[in-house]
Symmetry: C2
Subunit: 201 residues, 2 copies
């Protein structure tokens, strides 16, 4: 019935799509793949961040007479910045969430359908998570940028000229969480399209 309708419409040269009760199956596959990528991005981002701690030894002059040098060991830790703590929490939430929705998407792929109500709830949760993850990316990005460049106006000195490994990890983690945000945008886009496919025209 839908088949002949499509052909009739195409025959008359109209561009209107016929009412499809479901989005194509490739949508469900893309959904599963994207959710797996989201999980991977969240896990990588958290792991790279929590392994960023770097211990460095500096030579510091002592105010003795004659002046002697002493060795001071300092450790740069992600836990020292509230921004990075929030980042790790947010990306961990994203990781756990992506496992749950990955399983739901896999179930929908096998059952060849997902209830409309569940689909719209998943979109809303995706949107909330997007807000959390992009805020975390911005937060960590702001502190990371200060670490890289410093700010002369507030005399906040950059620290990336001393802690190389630390900054490499932080930067990498932020880039991966940016990728996670983009994946979430694509997931929302895909599912809104899938939802609108169910609306008869």
């Amino acid at each position: 019935m839908g088949e002949t309708e499509t052909q009739a419409v195409l025959h008359h040269g109209e561009k209107r799509a016929t009412a499809a009760p479901e989005a194509p199956r490739s949508f469900a596959v893309a959904d599963v793949v994207l959710r797996f990528l989201l999980f991977a991005a969240a896990v990588i981002s958290v792991l790279v961040m929590v392994t960023s701690n770097e211990k460095k030894t500096f030579s510091v002059p002592l105010p003795t007479n004659p002046i002697t040098l002493t060795e001071v060991t300092r450790t740069s830790k992600w836990r020292y910045s509230p921004a990075f703590v929030y980042f790790v929490v947010a990306l961990s939430v994203a990781g756990i969430y992506s496992i749950i929705t990955f399983l739901l998407a896999l179930l929908a792929l096998m059952k060849r359908s997902m209830p409309t109500k569940l689909l719209s709830h998943i979109i809303i949760m995706d949107v909330l998570l997007l807000g959390i993850v992009s805020a975390a990316t911005g937060t960590a990005g702001a502190v990371g940028y200060l670490g890289l460049k410093g700010n002369t106006h507030t005399s906040w000195a950059k620290i990336c000229n001393r802690y190389h490994k630390f900054c490499r990890h932080i930067g990498g983690s932020i880039v991966v969480s940016l990728i996670a945000s983009v994946i979430l945008v694509f997931l929302v886009l895909l599912n809104i399209y899938a939802l609108s496919k169910r609306i008869p025209k």
Copy 2:
């Protein structure tokens, strides 16, 4: 027809809602109101941020003999922090976007309907804007928090004990942009619900 069907369904004790071709009119009204609030929040946030500049005069000792005090004038500007510049740009985009979609929502309210395609595109744009605004809130929040508390580990000194008006403005602006993010979440929630209302069950 829908009325009697609903009653019949309710009579049989089933919880299934009847198929409605459109979301109730109150949704369109709420959409218009929320978009106006979003516009107000974006404008307030930008205005409070750009009026935050504060000039302060400090007494600084000069290394003369005898030591004399000299007056130094310093200005704290939002433009000095890349995070706040991004914040102002992002919230300005949100303000302009909210005017356009406010007019579209008003038009839909008067015409009593919005095409499904336009509605899904507006949801997707809302989601993108949510990403931008929440990232801006996070970015400005991270720098604002450093200004308020500083970070002893990186010896970034707090500046809010010297620039009170500046910090008040920054803080207020961040809170208002957080409200803008929440409004965007509600807008997406509302419109996804409106979209799913069009799906026959």
